[in-house]
């Protein structure tokens, strides 16, 4: 690896191409929903937690969420990174040297390395974590970006070409110290090109689609009695496609329209991540990370929280089916998912113990 003139540069990342929508996201902004502030945070929380664990960070640390097409970034100093989630290809370049880097592992990048991403064959979003974290301001207890109101993350918006993101001032020292731990525990660290070193193992998130049609579980929505029997039947038995105008606020579903038997207005009331609401046109919308905190549309279903990460990895045009479960089952799924993830993160944390 080339020597890094660490003292000459502050740890930072410059954005050479923006990607479709790259934002700073973390574990979410809680405690302000009564003022209309939605938690936001990573769409696929499981991949965020894993990306952070792969570089030795706390689970909820801020990382870059990249959607569909990633950015091109350059790291000013030596940095320990990991990409988890959608299987984007990582292409690293430093001077004349070019290398393809693996996902779902910790990678030590030399100062000055540029990385670009090839579109993912699987999944919609990936999370780039750096050891020590990104140094963007805290807004209402979180670093995540909420684009509709323009706050959080980097200047309240998606990254643009020319942006410079500061990393934690200790990011470079942290990268070296943590990689030393990895080297001690993992004989035979692998060099990729002249700019990257990594390990021989990887830890994958469980949120990538593994079938043509993704099956997602739901519990009954509170306005089910307002729908026709055919609508309830259609929702459970049809295949829906993710519409191209889906975004971080909601996934619009293309498929059978869901008609109401009773069209009385419902009072505006709180919504939740995973609420499936049906506007008067009958086309259902699944509320995602940046959803409105309250709404007046009828709720036909609520997606089990354990299945949100897999839903968040679906791209426009991909197919999904909905199958019912009980509240007790949804709770059991959520707790099992937490335990499985805790197992992975504990194993990874061990890699960084002295």
């Amino acid at each position: 690896m080339s020597a890094s003139p660490a003292s000459l540069h502050a740890p930072e990342v410059s954005v050479e191409r923006a990607g479709i929508q790259t934002t700073v996201q973390d574990g979410g902004r809680f405690g302000y929903q009564h003022l209309g502030v939605v938690p936001s945070g990573a769409m696929d929380m499981e991949s965020l937690w894993l990306a952070n664990a792969l570089v030795g960070n706390g689970s909820d640390e801020a990382a870059l969420e990249m959607a569909l097409q990633g950015p091109t970034l350059r790291f000013a100093t030596e940095t320990l990174i990991a990409l988890a989630g959608a299987s984007f290809g990582i292409r690293a370049a430093l001077g004349q040297s070019v290398a393809l880097l693996p996902t779902n592992r910790p990678i030590l990048l030399a100062a000055g390395t540029q990385i670009a991403f090839a579109p993912a064959p699987d999944g919609a979003r990936a999370y780039l974590a750096v050891a020590g974290g990104f140094d963007v301001p805290w807004v209402l207890g979180s670093r995540c970006t909420y684009i509709p109101a323009g706050f959080g993350g980097h200047q309240g918006r998606a990254l643009q070409k020319g942006d410079i993101l500061a990393l934690s001032p200790q990011a470079s020292a942290t990268a070296r110290a943590r990689f030393n731990h990895l080297q001690k525990k993992n004989p035979g660290v692998v060099c990729r090109g002249s700019m990257a070193m990594t390990v021989r193992w990887s830890v994958r998130p469980g949120s990538l689609p593994d079938d043509e049609v993704t099956l997602v579980r739901f519990i009954n929505g509170r306005h089910r009695p307002l729908f026709t029997a055919q609508a309830l039947q259609a929702f459970e038995s049809s295949t829906y496609r993710i519409s191209p105008d889906s975004n971080r606020m909601g996934y619009r579903l293309v498929g059978p329209r869901l008609e109401r038997a009773n069209t009385r207005d419902v009072l505006s009331e709180p919504t939740n991540l995973g609420t499936v609401q049906v506007p008067p046109d009958g086309a259902p919308i699944v509320l995602m990370a940046d959803h409105q905190t309250t709404g007046g549309y009828a709720k036909i279903a609520e997606i089990a929280s354990a299945d949100i990460p897999r839903l968040a990895q679906l791209r426009p045009g991909q197919e999904v089916r909905f199958t019912p479960c009980s509240l007790a089952q949804a709770l059991a799924l959520a707790r099992a998912a937490r335990l499985a993830l805790a197992d992975k993160t504990r194993a990874l944390a061990w890699q960084y113990q002295a």
């Binding site: 929903q33 209309g36 502030v37 009331e269 709180p270 997606i303 509240l327 949804a330």
Partner: protein, 241 residues
């Protein structure tokens, strides 16, 4: 809760496995709404680790929970007993009463796009529509949808008009609008189907302020008429121009 009318749980419904909705009424009742807001404060005062957010709404309340921090098999039962216990909590001594929020609004025809239309529907002169809007004693029923977006109750009943059949795609920031018995103020440019009476130059939400949201649940609100030069002056100061 002393002489305040008590509220009673009507139903407890899961909003998925990470939130529980508690219903108190199927229609807007100002006393029930105020009771829900006091209940939300009482729940929040307990600082329970498994609760992430308490959201009082018009006739219901949602509690967002971390199901990994409780081993309860039945979160509905857990929330129901918490709500029952909190309904019995004594309110804190001398809860500071916030003074009425006075919100400047410019009703010029450039901003009050639907004053004539409301006048036609209600049989009132547009100037009388403004007078009755100014004369209404509003109360914040709920803040929701987007940050700082208030739903105000207390509109003069003679101004109750239904929502417009064709919503506007963009309501400019600060737009003051009415529908049925309520009034809203749009903190951001979002679509809306309510009838527009004017615009405020105030910034409704600013994450950097000590009180990020100008409107908070239970605030009392009065609108105050300003003319265009004053509007521009305040907009300049607030950075909303």
């Amino acid at each position: 809760m002393g002489s305040k009318p008590a509220i009673r749980v009507q139903s407890v419904i899961p909003l998925g496995d990470t939130a529980v909705l508690v219903d108190f009424s199927d229609h807007l009742d100002p006393d029930v709404n105020a009771g829900i807001q006091r209940l939300a404060d009482a729940i929040r005062r307990r600082n329970l680790p498994w609760i992430r957010d308490v959201v009082p709404a018009i006739a219901s309340l949602a509690i967002h929970i971390r199901c990994d921090l409780t081993d309860a098999a039945d979160t509905l039962e857990m929330v129901h007993s918490l709500v029952d216990a909190c309904l019995g909590d004594k309110p804190p001594r001398a809860r500071p009463l916030r003074p009425p929020l006075v919100v400047p609004v410019c009703y010029d025809s450039e901003f009050g796009l639907d004053l004539h239309d409301i006048g036609e529907r209600t049989g009132l002169h547009p100037e009388e529509v403004v007078r009755r809007h100014l004369g209404s004693d509003f109360r914040v029923l709920m803040v929701g949808f987007v940050p700082g977006h208030p739903y105000l109750g207390g509109l003069d009943p003679t101004l109750a008009v239904p929502r417009r059949s064709a919503p506007r795609l963009r309501m400019p920031t600060g737009t003051v609008a009415i529908a049925n018995a309520q009034c809203v103020v749009y903190p951001y440019e979002i679509p809306g189907g309510w009838s527009v009476v004017g615009r405020t130059p105030l910034r409704l939400f600013d994450a950097a302020r000590a009180r990020p949201s100008l409107f908070e649940p239970a605030d009392t609100v009065r609108f105050e008429r300003i003319e265009r030069p004053q509007f521009d002056q305040i907009a300049q100061r607030e950075g909303t121009a």
